[in-house]
Structure formats: structure tokens, C-alpha cells
Symmetry: C2
Subunit: 506 residues, 2 copies
Amino acid sequence: MIDRFEVGDLQGPIFNIDEDTDVEYDAIFIGGGAGGRFGSAYLKARGGRQLTIDRWPFLGGSCPHQACVPHHLFSEAARELDLARTLSGQLFYPEFDESRASILDLVNLFKSGRNSAHAFMNWQSKEQLGMEYILNASATVIDSHTVEVAGRRFTAKNLVLATGSSTVLLDLPGIDLPGVFDYATIIEDLDYDPKSCVIIGGSKVAIEYGSFFQAAGCQTTILTRSPLMATKSLHHVDEDVRQYVVKGMRDRGMSILEGAQPIAVIGTDRVTGVTARLADGSTVDIPCDMVFMGTGERANSSHFVEVLGVEVDDRGSVIVDDHMRTSVPNVYAVGDLIGAPMEMFKARKCGVTAARNIMGEDHSFDFTEYPDFLHSTYEVTWVGLSEVEARAKFDEVIVIQMPPPGVPHGDIPLPCAEGTMMLAFTYPEKTGFQKAIFDAKSRKLVGIHHVGFGAKDSFQYLDYLIHRTEGLSIDQLAEMNELFLNSGHFIQLSRLRAGAMELSSL
Amino acid sequence: MIDRFEVGDLQGPIFNIDEDTDVEYDAIFIGGGAGGRFGSAYLKARGGRQLTIDRWPFLGGSCPHQACVPHHLFSEAARELDLARTLSGQLFYPEFDESRASILDLVNLFKSGRNSAHAFMNWQSKEQLGMEYILNASATVIDSHTVEVAGRRFTAKNLVLATGSSTVLLDLPGIDLPGVFDYATIIEDLDYDPKSCVIIGGSKVAIEYGSFFQAAGCQTTILTRSPLMATKSLHHVDEDVRQYVVKGMRDRGMSILEGAQPIAVIGTDRVTGVTARLADGSTVDIPCDMVFMGTGERANSSHFVEVLGVEVDDRGSVIVDDHMRTSVPNVYAVGDLIGAPMEMFKARKCGVTAARNIMGEDHSFDFTEYPDFLHSTYEVTWVGLSEVEARAKFDEVIVIQMPPPGVPHGDIPLPCAEGTMMLAFTYPEKTGFQKAIFDAKSRKLVGIHHVGFGAKDSFQYLDYLIHRTEGLSIDQLAEMNELFLNSGHFIQLSRLRAGAMELSSL
């Protein structure tokens, strides 16, 4: 029913356009990733006419091809591998067999399957969403109303730029050696099983891929300038959460060198190590057979600067207003192309915002506040303020956390629920950590944080309740109908305190 | 810091009461399980004085001792075992070793660890919540203001009855043979590794324990009168969800005999089989070395009927109004003792409701609508209407589901997120199922259903948004900030349709 294809096998452009009508489109979306595809779908649903162009033969962009989807596969593998190691030889878990743990196997598994997501995206966009698109062809912008693709010119009232971002490659000696990868090239090019890795940078990607590499038996070192999870690109990270996560990574054997800087990638034919300057000023050579770039991303904006003269900031991100309008009339930009946060919700909603404005609405999108997550071998999720931020903002703050302050985690296998039940009865200190922060005066939830499994989905709704309604009070939480056990024990714990007129911590 | 103890080692009552003051309590809670403990905490927080009595040496009741907690451990083991079998010999999973799969090991693991939860409950109730309690002692009600426990009499303005429920034991020949268990006795008494099991009844417990037994290598047959998940005790189950779950159980090797009735348990010294009448009227003997009762629960009300004369219904559940008041003045009843749904949220909130009314508030609790879940090897979660119910109620209904109707699941590894990523790239048809149902006219979400992992927590908030606010529209869903990938793909899928004035299914 859905036509499968192999990305590499396709030659020439894929046209899915209505050739009968020669129109000026309402918008041409340059880039059919998260922002371009969702913007296109919304514009079409609003009755507009769009054309979406992508250099790849599929819609959906880097997410299903090289980014969020493989990341989630690898993070799930990391969780399963971690459990298999932790419980090795106990219960139904056999002695862990190092020889079976393979990064390459999982990369190849992903590559063998990603085409089904690509095929589905194309099918859904065409059949369910009625989109017009040209794929497997690069778009060249001629002017703010004209785009050339596959030798043809198309005109539109508006352009929506949505070409995303790429990894920042540091200007380091040896950076071009075989064995240096980023999240994209590791998918495309990995052809051996690395046994030791140095990650340069301390981004989310560094934490996520590093945790996976370590779990898959590849001894991993992270070189990071800032403490992990304390970079300014991650806002509202609670210090207790940070410490639990980073300690968990170290306990699992990772080497995390904070305040460190890479000096050179070493190797002749291929990578054999990294020279780094450590926090104490000393210089070391760290041997490894893989280097992974975890330094973050930069917008793919140069073509638009050159042709259209769109304004960009000092990192090259296209500058837009809250309607996604660039400095050039009728030209919008969305997604990673406009800079941080480089997250799916933002990319997609930017696309929708552009579409709504193009279709005549006056619609703005403010993404200063949002829920956030990352994976170590855990899911780590948060929204709202950290405890430190809350205490700076409110006179009286109460905290409901698990385990409670001062109680040794080994005494209390909480929080636990799906995902940590096996650990609760073997290594209670590995069951995770959670914290909810309330302004005692208004009784409102102002921040909520979770390390474990199964709570990530709910943080989307918690974000909505905290930020899009009049707020969520401890009394409203206490009135909810929990599904017990639950990953975030927030509802029932709130209920234990909500009876009091004067709130206190738990 | 938290005193550990072994339940069986404790002799005599545990007193944690303020002996200095001779008071009439505001309430004595008879039973310190979910309802009794949360009611007590709330009453205490409101400034009341309570005494909580339990026959067990710990607070928290059956949940951490024999019910929800072991169920969650077993369901997690079922998920892990299922993955280890499904991916046996692939990737990092070794060939599955049947000899390691053991129900008994997991029962023993649970028993070895449950005391830490008990110790924590006592510690929290005493140190954090300031409760007074007498444990390890049975309460005898003398009259509606007087309770005798451990040879002493205590008086209170109100009684709150919270003694829960027990498995219904059918009046079947052979039912007393060794090898017949329910969820409680399997924890206490199992001393061998069953290799084949017949489950009598089709309750949630039957589905959950049956899925665990099967995953642990015990060939399991469920004998059920009604189709699984179609009993009247489970409301709002969507038929597509039901079929996906039941097919999944059958595909994993379970035998599910619907329309069947047990006639006798067979065996001389111990269970060797069950005689059943099948749907076609024929009679068969099903050999097995374990029988498990999955027939549901009945309230432990007889003492209260006898002494206080509280009114009960035809199943023995104590009848209460929406304030949790029984037919006897100043006597409240809460939790499983008042009948279905026998769920944690209801028990705890019943306790809180009694406490609030006792402390002078006029507070009612309506639990006709609530989110619900069960485990097979999946988490199955739902809230609001099924599609059939929605179509009966509204003129125009649209459905957003994954996979979409008519698309073979093998073509599309969706829904997928944490918990199903390993399956998405190996057995896409095993990634689960999801459905959101909207009233097209009001654009509001009226039902939402999920089979997979990681969505359960969010259904607590979805229940709140659907039932406690003015409702949640597809437009509000589309405006949320998703954390991608997410277990319930509802936000981003809603966004693909929300642009349209006339909604259509996806």
C-alpha cells in the first residue's frame, strides 16, 4: 500500500505537483523537514496552495533520517544494554556478553529501516495531507518570489526558508581524519565497531550519544568546557537533577572532563586519540578509535544571505520576528535555521506560524518557555523553573521530591514505575529522581523535573497547564485521577500535602 | 535512616500515638491502605486528629504488599522477557534461555524487597505526615464511635471504614487444592515454578498476570465468560484497542477461551488441570500445574454489617453517598470496600473526601469518569469515549489514529517512541496502536486510547483536561509543545489536521 524505496537508489527529482494549473503558490517551502512539512500541511489545510522542495527524496528532514529517530533508537538500546549489564547473571538476564554489544549493528539496523518512515512521510503528505512537493532536488532561490528546482522555475507570493542546521565542525588539527563523526555522518559512514570514543563538546547530543556508546561497550570520554547540562543552551536545569544524571553517567564508567578543551585530533591514517587541555591546565593525550562531535549546530543560511540578503545573527541564524518574518518582505524562516532551541516542537510550530500569517491571520509564536528533555540511559524531562530559579523569584517555595532530602536512596526504591521496576528491587538508588516546585503563596506549580522513564509524554501537558492556563495549583494536582503506579509520582505526593493551609515541603 | 523490618518478624502491636493526651479523635480510620492512609494524611493536614489502624505492620495496604507494586514489577518483567524472546539472537540479545525465565524468582525478588516500601510508608506517615497509628493489630468495632484494638478502646467522632476487598473464590470442586492462587496468595505461598497455568476469569488481573506468566515461559490459558476487556467492569474500551491487545496476547502464545466456564479444578494432591465447558458446549480437561483466580474482588464488609448494620449492595460493597457517608451516621466508607472501580485514585480520593467532610467541608467526589489502564506486555491506557460511544453521541466524529485505517502495520513502524524503538526496526507491527476521537463540530477531544509504552502518565493530565476544564480542542492540542519523539503522537498528529475549518480523520 505504501511504496517503499531505497533513498540511494532514486535518480532524479520526484514530482508530486498539479501540472494542470499554472499558479502562483501562496508559499514555496524550501526544505521539507519538520518546519517545512508542518507549515505546508497547515497552509494546505487552511485552503492555501503550497509547494515544498527538499534535496532529499523524502519529506520529514533530518529527524527520521539522521537525528531524532536514530537518537531514540540508540537511547532505547542504551537503556536495554544498561539493564542487561546491571542485572547481568541475575534473574532472567544471562551473563552480559560484551561481544554482542555493537554500535555498528544498531547503526545498520537503523539504516535498514529508516526508509519505511521516509516512505510513510511521503505517502501521508501526498495522500492524507494533499501536499504538492518536489523531492530529491535542490532549490535555488532566484528572488523573494522565485525558486528554481530541477531546471524549472516556480513563483510564489511568499517563501518559507526551512533548510535546518548542521554540526559545527571545529577548526582543529586532525578534524578531517577518518574516525571523526557527528550525528549525521555516524549514520552514513560508520563501518567499524569503535571501542573507545572521545566526544568533543557537552551538548545534549554529547550526553545522548555518549551514554549510548558507553552502554554499547565503547569506553567514552566527554570533553566539555561547561559542566554537563549547565550550558546556557539548556535552561531551567535543576541542580539536583543535573547531579543525579551526571553521577549516573560516571557510575556507568564514562569519563567526563569538565573545563577541558580539545587541542588536536591525533592520528595518521585514522583517529588514534585526542589531545586535550584539562581544567588544571595540563595537557593529555586520550587514546580512542572514534571522535564524536557534540558541539552543537549552526544554521544552513549562507545561500539565503547571499541571494536574498536576509539578516542573520552572529551565529548565522536567520533573524525573524514572532511571526517568523525575516528582514526581507514575504520571506519567512522557520526551524533550526532561526537558531535555538533546535527542537521539533519549535520547528513545526514555526512552520505553522508562517503558514497562518501567510494565510492572513495575525499569529505570533513565543517559544521562550517550553518543556525540555534529554536521554542519558534515563529519560530526563523538565519544565518550568529550577529550584534555584524559583527561590530567587518567590518568597516561599516548597519542594516535593523523591527521594526526600536526606533519605539515602538505597533505603527507598522511589520514584519507581514502568521502566525502573526491575531496578527498584535490585538497585533502588538507580530508580531515578523527581522534584516538583511550588510557590507556597499562590500554591502553584512553578517547576517540575523528572529522571526515570515514562514521564516525558506528560510533560507536554504539564507545560500546557503551567504556561497556557491560569496555572496548576497543588490542589488541582491533588484532585487529579492518578494511574498508579505512575512515573511522575507528582499527583499523589501533592495530595499528601494539599490538605494544609500552610504548605510545607515533602 | 529509615528503620527496616521484616513483616513476619514483628510480634505484637506497633503503637505510634500521642499517649499524653486522652482525646476523642476526629476520626478513626479502620484500615491504613490507600484510602485510610491518604484520608488520614489529609485530615491531619487540615488540623484534625486521626488514628489509623491496620492489621498489617505497615501502612499502604495491599498495594505495596501484594497488589499494584508486584503487578508492576511482573508487568515490567513481562515486557523485558517479551523483548528478550522477540529479539532472541538478534543484535545484543543472546539466544533466549528458557531455563532462566522463572515466575518464582520474580515473586521472591519482590518479597525480598517489599519491606523497604513498607518501612518507607511507616516513616513517611510518622515523620513527614505526623499521623498517629496502631499497626499489626486488628480493629474490632464496638459501636459507631468506639473501636477496640490491642486490648484498648479508642473513641472518635467518626469512623472511616477502609478494609478493602479480597478475591472472590468460586465455589468450584477442587478450588482448595494446592496450586490454586490469587494475586495475594501467589506472593505469599508460591514455592515452585509453574510451567502451565489456567486462569479462571477475564479481569484486568487475569490479563496482567496471564501476560506475565506467558512471558515467563508458563503456557497460559485464560477461561473467560465475556470477551477479554469487554466486561462491564471496564468502561470505554475501544474495540480496535481491544483487538490489538488480545491479538498481541494470542500471537505471544496465550490461549484465550472466551465464552468458557470452569467446571472443576482437577487434581489429587495438587492441581493437575481444569475442566471447562467451552463456548460450543463441549467439555475439556486442560492440564496445568497452576490455577490462578482472575475473577475480581469482593468487599471485606461483613464485620461492619454485623456490628454497625451498614447497608451493602448485592455484592457486599458498602453503600455510600458522594460524601462517602454510609447508612450509619458518622460512619464513612472508602476504597475497595465501596466497590468498583477498585483503583488507587478512587481509594485515595475517597479517603480525602471523607476527611474533608469530617473536617467540616461539604465535599463530594464523583468517580464515574476517570482514566484507566491495564498491562498486557504493553501498557494500555485510555480515557473518555470509545469510537463506538462517540459515534453514538455525536453527529460527526473524526478519528486520528496510528497506524491509519487500511495501512498495513508492517509498512509503518508507528506509533513508536521510548519502549518500542527496538521493535520499530525489527517488528513494526508490534509498535502499538493509538487513537484520538474528536467531536468534529465542537472540535473537542472526546476519547483517547493508547497501546504501547510511556503514555500512561500523560493520561492523568488528559483526563483532567477533558473532564475538569472546558475540554481540550484539537486546536489547543495542536498548540502544545511536544517532546519528540513522544509515546502518544497526539499533539503533532492533531496539528496536521487542525488547520482545517472542516475537520477530517487522519
